[in-house]
Symmetry: C2
Subunit: 234 residues, 2 copies
């Protein structure tokens, strides 16, 4: 793990799972609504439609924002859970839970500390409006919200990673992507970005811990965003 | 001036002249460099190339970010002021003065107060990287940075104003544009946005005050961003 720390100008963050706890937030919302279904299962079912939906959009050469994809998946999941009767206004309200996701306990402090030395931005497949409302709700101190929507391509398309470097007029090697997903980091690394893995063992719930072992290919490995800030001297 | 205040969801701000003092900031930078030219005249000459450069880009159907246009204009202005000898590194550094513009005294407080009730974003012809560095430098508390770069069109193209509404998935009538320029507000109004004029009499320097009389067509008229916040109940 070589660390050309002085070269970093921008730290870009994956958001769902890395900065915010989508599973816990969606689960709690579903439980609050008293729908009579398992909130954890519902959250995972909803999220599991995410990658296929984006892949389909990319394969068709379309551009559709994530709010719309989330809604399409939600309608399917509601049917699967026997909740077909949910009214339109309630569906719309539930779909916006992705705008109100809660941060992990270290996220706000970690981002703020990184912001003292670097430009700290999002690089999420969430649309700009979703990310802006989430940041306002959760108090995420982004210097700049960047989204797949800026580049009209979903991660892991190279245009997204290279787009961060272009936006700030720096070489890709001066951008670090921080994410809780090795696949995202792998795609960023292929574009020449530095990478930081953030451990989020309970992204899918405390009952379904995921492995968070280090991969040597990543520039840094951190147990939290605060840990990453510390490693980067913030 | 009718004021459907409860309907407003987003307040989008023009930036150069409205939120930051480009004239004073560029003038002071030029004076600091001791180039032996009049800083105020230099600033105005540089800025005067701005509208024609964007118009040319739009007429050609191109997309070129403002940093690049600023640099082209700078090279011409340096020649006009007899400063052809300036080295490349110094030109590059000077061109980035637009990333370091100072806010008007009321801007940070005004934006923060508006942010307690509304989504507060930029809508500037400055590129995203420029706006993000400026926000960091000046402490501008944007919820979201939106730029002509998001829409690949410069204001006053309708795609920019309507793009704000689309980004946040609201009707144009729930977006208010705040600007110190009636032409910008006029174009926004044609797209169905609400408008707020902000008085900046010294945008072009204290020696060249500009008229700031109210236009009845604007939804609101404010002497500052803090005044706007007060009028909107923040």
């Amino acid at each position: 793990m070589t660390q050309p720390k002085e070269e970093i100008r921008v730290v870009a963050f994956d958001v769902f799972g890395t900065v915010v706890d989508w599973h816990g937030s969606v689960r709690r919302e579903v439980e609050r609504l008293g729908l009579g279904v398992d909130g954890a299962d519902f959250a995972r079912a909803w999220r599991s439609g995410y990658q296929p939906a984006m892949r389909e959009v990319m394969e068709r050469g379309e551009w559709i924002v994530l709010d719309v994809l989330h809604r399409r998946i939600l309608d399917r999941v509601l049917a699967d859970f026997g909740l077909d009767a949910m009214a339109e206004a309630e569906r719309r309200q539930l779909n916006r839970v992705w705008h109100r996701l809660e941060p992990w306990p270290d996220s706000v402090e970690g981002l703020a500390r990184l912001g003292t030395k670097y430009i700290v931005c999002s690089l999420s497949n969430g649309n700009i409006g979703l990310l802006a409302e989430m940041a306002k709700h959760a108090g995420l101190p982004w210097d700049c919200i960047l989204s797949a929507e800026n580049f009209k391509r979903y991660k892991p398309h190279p245009d997204t990673y290279l787009g961060v470097a272009r936006t700030f007029d720096v070489e890709p090697g001066r951008v670090m992507l921080a994410a809780a997903h090795h696949s995202d980091l792998e795609a960023a690394r292929k574009c020449g970005l530095l990478t930081a893995y953030i451990e989020r063992p309970f992204e899918y719930g405390e009952d379904q811990p995921k492995p968070v072992a280090p991969w040597e290919r990543n520039t840094l490995h951190a147990t939290s965003i605060v840990d990453l800030a510390g490693q980067l001297g913030c």
